[in-house]
């Protein structure tokens, strides 16, 4: 059986629409913004229209059912129904569009802002480019001592960090649900694996208030750890973060 061309066009559009939703919202779990979806669908509709009206015969075939509905005396009931429903649907749609939206404003925020060249840490002006983890070299030189330092870092972590970043370092600690922005997930390959140890040292020691403006320092719940921890403790906890997750810090040597 041949599907009428108008129905074909409608089916294609519906297929593309639900295709977007299945791929983005369900499979990728990244809900597609309705404005973006509207834009995509505009282009798709334009494309389908162009293909379906390629020549005159095709165009005639496409609009034939519509023409018949409007003109054919035998389709009177059908016509009257459509003439009532379409204005109603448009009216209700207009009404809903005009209702003000009470959605919270979107707050854009840079998660890993570019670090400053220098920062005040522990009362000293530190050049971040030259900063290195003083314990990192022990990884090769003295693995046993290095292992002990990692364990000491683990203790610092569990006493201070797990409440938000979680026992599993996955950003899902017991307080995480109450925070916005949510704590960073260190297991994710997009976080500490992309950063240098000096960057972590800067982020940990100066905390939320040490962030530049584009990173919205006023909402970050990250404490200013230089107020609570020793410098060495921060370096040790950094060793632990990499050891536990199996990630490697980025360094100049590899690049």
């Amino acid at each position: 059986m041949k599907i009428p061309r108008l129905l074909q066009a409608v089916l294609i559009l519906a297929g593309v629409y639900f295709g977007f939703i299945v791929v983005f919202d369900v499979l990728l779990d990244a809900v597609i913004p309705s404005s973006l979806l509207a834009m995509y669908m505009f282009f798709v509709t334009a494309g389908v229209f162009m293909v379906f009206t390629y020549d005159e015969d095709q165009t005639r075939e496409l609009v034939a059912p519509i023409k018949a509905m409007v003109e054919d005396p035998s389709k009177r009931v059908w016509r009257n129904t459509v003439f009532v429903i379409v204005p109603l649907v448009v009216g209700v749609g207009t009404y809903q569009q005009m209702q003000p939206s009470f959605q919270a404003p979107v707050e854009l925020r840079t998660i890993h802002p570019a670090p400053p060249t220098t920062a005040m840490i522990y009362g000293k002006r530190v050049k971040l480019l030259e900063l290195e983890n003083p314990f990192r070299k022990l990884e090769k030189e003295d693995p046993e001592q290095f292992g002990e330092l990692v364990n000491e870092g683990a203790v610092v972590y569990i006493e201070n960090c797990q409440f938000c970043h979680g026992d599993k370092l996955d950003g899902k600690g017991p307080y995480a649900a109450g925070l916005n922005p949510t704590p960073l997930n260190f297991q994710d390959v997009g976080t500490i694996a992309q950063l240098q140890e000096s960057y972590l040292f800067w982020r940990i020691s100066t905390g939320g208030p040490g962030l530049p403006k584009e990173a919205a320092p006023w909402i970050s719940s990250m404490p200013v750890w230089q107020d609570f921890l020793e410098e060495d403790e921060i370096w040790k906890v950094i060793l632990f973060l990499y050891d536990y997750t199996g990630h490697r810090p980025r360094s100049w040597e590899h690049e």
Binding site: F18, F20, I21, V22, F24, D25, V26, V31, I32, S34, K67, V70, E71, P73, R79, F83, V84, V86, P87, V90, G91, V92, T94, Y95, M98, Q99, P100, F102, A104, P105, E107, L108, A154, V155, Y157, I158, E159, Q162, F163, D167, K168, D170, K172, G173, P174, Y175, A177, G178, L179, N180, G208, P209, K213, A216, P217, W218, I219, S221, P223, F228
Partner: protein, 515 residues
């Protein structure tokens, strides 16, 4: 959006499938304690300690404290109340799914099933637990939940104060006595209206199991113990389980997508009493609160975990209705209140934080009491003592170390009421003030940053020891008037007119062609 619906149906089907998988019968396998030892060293020792005694370095700051494995007793036990040990499946469940409301996460994504069995062998060795329990919980025939069963359960719950003695008349765990666990640590009866804090779940079967076995190491007894005065039959326990499951306050569950308190405009006077039925017309927004661990003296064991907020306004005034569960009404000077309190008894208090001024961009004051560049107002209410009535004050803050209480009430009025484990407080102020440089002016249609602080006096919370939230939004919903309705009708008529004209002209054309 349609996609949201499709998505949520898909996700709930998926979740249901996963739950069915994870809660299906897990067949116990023998684990290798030596292999488990390595995993224990890496994943468990920091909380549960090298000797398995729950005295790892984190123990002091965790609430509840980590389990002491040397006792061999576990909160989730599905073997009979008088069995010597839990089922291995109970241990598997606790490790795999974690313990909601505690620092114990579910490990199923980092550990394989065999890993978990190995760790179980290690953990059991701390208490020299061996073999299988001799007796299991007898579930009889499950009584399905129904209004009759729930009513029967409620009767049993309240009868002779069997359950309400600790869990309170409304099940909010509003204690009348100080409870301790076997290690002498303070414990609190569960607030049964907050199912997300249940260590197992609020599925009636899980609740039935807890009622039947009790919760080992706590003062929650077994209601199947024939020697106990509190014995209930199997059927009666199902009724109670169904009743407890029905207590979940779904409208006061935190929804992470709900970050806006929508204040509706009303005519006449704002309801000053927190129990005024007018408040029921305003939908509550519920937010999580977390302990204050960012500044000054950090505090890890705050008692309050959520707050529900409603708001209404008139042309002149704005009122906020704050509601939060608190197991104790803390009144310094009151003997009964002091016997329940931990250490020092202080007043219960709540504060609402607003920026003094709303910035043009997205910038806000620092969420913990503002900063030097962007000060905040805190509207603070305190419950009062036996000597002093409830009071209200305005603090101007530029950070946790820089707070200034204003003289007088700053035009703010408040009324609080405590009943059955819940505080309800209404704060009212005029929308505009004369001191525009120090007070936020409440304009319609504007998104206003708002945050919350809570102090539980029975938990020695005062000063920087408190629970707090991050920034959320308050919106005074502008009345839209008749405009959308009028425009919608005009558009509909216009479209209808065009269609009719089209139909008419087509008919006329056809008739013109066929004379």
């Amino acid at each position: 959006m349609g996609g949201g619906l499709v998505n949520s149906i898909f996700m709930s089907a998926l979740t249901a499938g996963l739950i069915a998988l994870s809660h299906g019968p897990v067949l116990a396998k023998s684990g290798d304690a030596e292999k488990g030892e390595g995993i224990y060293q890496k994943r468990c020792l920091q909380c549960h300690g090298e000797e398995g005694d729950g005295l790892g370095p984190a123990a002091e700051r965790l609430n509840p404290p980590p389990r002491d494995f040397t006792l061999g007793l576990y909160k989730i036990q599905s073997s009979a109340f008088d069995a010597d040990l839990p089922n291995d499946e109970d241990l598997f469940r606790m490790i795999s799914d974690g313990m909601p409301g505690t620092a114990m996460p579910g490990w199923s994504d980092l550990l394989s099933e065999q890993d978990i069995w190995d760790v179980i062998a290690t953990v059991k060795a701390f208490a020299e637990l061996e073999g299988e329990p001799e007796r299991q919980v007898d579930y009889g025939t499950q009584v399905k939940s129904s209004p009759e069963s729930i009513a029967a359960g409620k009767k049993l719950f309240l009868a002779d104060d069997q359950c309400s003695e600790c869990h309170g008349v409304e099940g909010k765990g509003d204690a009348i006595k100080k409870l301790k666990n076997d290690n002498g640590e303070r414990t609190w009866p569960r607030n049964l209206t907050k199912p997300w804090t249940f260590r197992a779940s609020n599925d009636p079967k899980d609740i039935f199991t807890r009622i039947t076995v009790g919760i080992p190491t706590t003062q929650m007894p077994s209601f199947a113990d024939p020697k106990s005065k509190k014995k209930l039959s199997i059927e009666e326990r199902w009724h109670v389980a169904n009743y407890v499951a029905s207590l979940a306050k779904t409208e006061k569950t935190v929804r992470s997508d709900n970050t806006v308190i929508q204040a509706a405009r009303i005519e006449g006077e704002l309801p000053a009493s927190p129990d005024d039925p007018v408040w029921d017309s305003a939908p509550p927004s519920t937010f999580f609160m977390v302990p204050q661990i960012v500044g000054k003296e950090r505090f890890f064991k705050a008692a309050n975990d959520t707050i529900s907020v409603r708001s209404l306004y008139t042309d002149k005034m704005i009122a906020l209705h704050l509601e939060w569960d608190d197991r104790t009404k803390s009144i310094p000077g009151d003997d009964k209140a002091r016997t329940i309190a931990d250490e020092e008894l202080t007043e219960d208090a709540i504060a609402v934080q607003f920026p003094m001024k709303i910035s043009a961009g997205m910038e806000k004051p620092y969420f913990l009491m503002g900063d030097a560049a962007k000060p905040v107002n805190l509207w603070r209410w305190s419950s009062g003592t036996t000597q002093m009535p409830e009071s209200v004050s305005i603090l101007d803050a530029m950070g946790i170390n820089d707070q200034q209480a204003r003289d007088g009430d700053g035009g703010l009025s408040a009324k609080g009421a405590y009943k059955d484990g819940t505080w309800r407080v209404v704060l009212t102020r005029s929308r505009k003030t004369e001191t525009t440089d120090k007070d936020l002016q409440f304009e319609e249609g504007r998104f206003i940053p708002i945050a919350f602080f809570a102090w539980d006096g029975s938990n020695s919370e005062a000063g920087s020891r408190h629970a707090m939230s991050t920034w959320y939004w308050l919106l005074l919903k502008p009345s839209t008037g008749a405009k959308p309705m009028i425009v919608a009708i005009v558009v509909a008529l216009l479209i209808g007119g065009i269609l009719v004209w089209w139909g008419r002209s087509a008919t006329a054309r056809r008739e013109g062609m066929t004379p």
